[in-house]
Amino acid sequence: MTTPAPSATIRELRDSVRSGARSAVEICREALARVRASDPALHAFHTVTADRALARAADLDRDRDRWRDAPLTGVPVAIKDNLCTRGVRTTAASKILETFVPPYDATAVARLERAGAVVIGKTNCDEFAMGSSTENSAFGPTRNPWALDRTPGGSSGGSAAAVAARLAPLALGSDTGGSIRQPAALCGIVGLKPTYGRVSRYGLLAFASSLDQIGPLTLTVHDAAIALNVIAGADPADATSAPEPVLDYTTALTGDIRGARIGVPSRLLENGPGGPDGIDREVAGAFRTALDAFASRGATLVDVDLPHARHAVAVYYLVATAEASSNLARYDGVRYGFRAPFDRHDDALGSMYARTRAGGFGPEVKRRIMLGTYVLSAGYYEAYYLKAQQVRTLIARDYERAFERVDAVAMPTSPTPAFPIGERVADPLQMYLADVFTVSANLGGLPAVSVPCGFTAGGLPIGLQLVGRRFDESAVLRLADAYERDTNWWKREPAHV
């Protein structure tokens, strides 16, 4: 038997199945064996669909001709547990959906399977994707494969940990304010948030509908491009999915970035909400070194000003919670999920709703529903929600102005590397402030990728973020791929592989 190659990429695995060198079943068995060995310590997965996955892999092997040219033939994939999977429990890491079994697949999941992928399980996340550490899961936190006492980031922390620990070469996540990019950075992998509308949101359990976007977490930029090729595109089931043509994003990865212009928002980096000390020293150092690498490849660094970006966190937590309070009104104990016990004689419908929601939602979700309900309520709507939407316009305009001069804006993905489990739980505002560099891309609907850019002296990964023009995923992927060719940080494996 061949030794499993732990760092196998999507491209390597797919090509090995296509060529007949390996079978889909063999690859699936290896992935499941790695999950069995590593996941008790990591808790990246909620649900492992071993039997279903092996049956599916066997189907692929039986019908080799049909799958010979598919882009993801035999590739094991993990799916964030807020994406619906037909017949497979989908919880959004919430007690209120602990028993929910969707009758349909999310479009992005269906597209992966049509491309030959094998779903091996559902990954842990913050409840309803609300959080930056995966500690808000009703089913316990996920641990970072680089340091088990630290969080993997969030909210797609299970997806990031699964890819970083080489349990699957591809996981889907969702990103409302950084929930793909920040865990990718904290786990040392690539995370792509596509342009708003690039990927159908059908079957994504909605958090904030004007900000949510589904995207891939992978080991390499090339793998992220392969995955985007598969999941991107208009969908009649999502009226906000965009009609723009889907390119072959892998063709953008030429390694040639001569003449590219990269914006560096130095005033934001120095004067963000955390002040000059807001960015960890080692993160700042790795970021500067990465900028030099871009310059060495022939890109030009340009200082850009994003005067309103420092207010993005305030805007985000008003807009996102307002939308969440409305979206989560559907969880009422009537059509699906948890229902609080009630007394047939004494209780009426309203008290069943209120007790179901009180017992089914965790503290962070309740906090956000409360904040969102408050900012939408009479008397506060204009001061908070409308004001936030206006500043959202100003932030989007800042980026539009910058993109007149540059092809992408570079920033650290997260101001700090992975933080210890428990450290920020008691102070939600501190947790929110760490989203400063990621939320703007969601507010503007812009594509953004996080790519590994080094390690701290203590061995924790650091991520670099590139934000691009709307529907110009090609530009950020080209830049990230060129940088990756020079550095190959992704080849370093965490201790817990």
Partner: protein, 102 residues
């Protein structure tokens, strides 16, 4: 500008949001909402006169589709996750809820 949030306001918001909070949660959320609202108050310094609000970033807005009847979930699938339901009774299939009128 509202300077903070009172306990009574938090209780009123919880009622609007259909959340049966216990007293310790009311206390916690009163404190935390005060902190968060104090932070977001920074937005008040920004001049937004004449700036249109952004409610979505889909270029051209959501797309239209013809208003046609199309297949959707079968009743058994739609009811499969219900905590309580009547399935294929003489009156039809439906979700069951506690009494609505007292």
């Amino acid at each position: 500008m509202p300077a903070g949030v009172t306990r009574a306001q938090v209780e009123a918001i919880a009622a609007l949001a259909q959340l049966d909070l216990d007293p310790s949660e009311v206390e916690l959320f009163t404190r935390q909402l005060c902190d968060i609202l104090a932070y977001v108050d920074e937005l008040q310094q920004i001049d937004t006169s004449g700036v249109p609000p952004t409610s979505h970033v889909a270029p051209g807005g959501a797309s239209d589709r013809p208003d046609e009847v199309r297949p959707s979930l079968d009743p058994p699938d739609a009811l499969a996750n219900a905590p309580d339901a009547a399935r294929e009774t003489p009156l039809g299939s439906f979700f069951k809820v506690p009494r609505v009128i007292g």
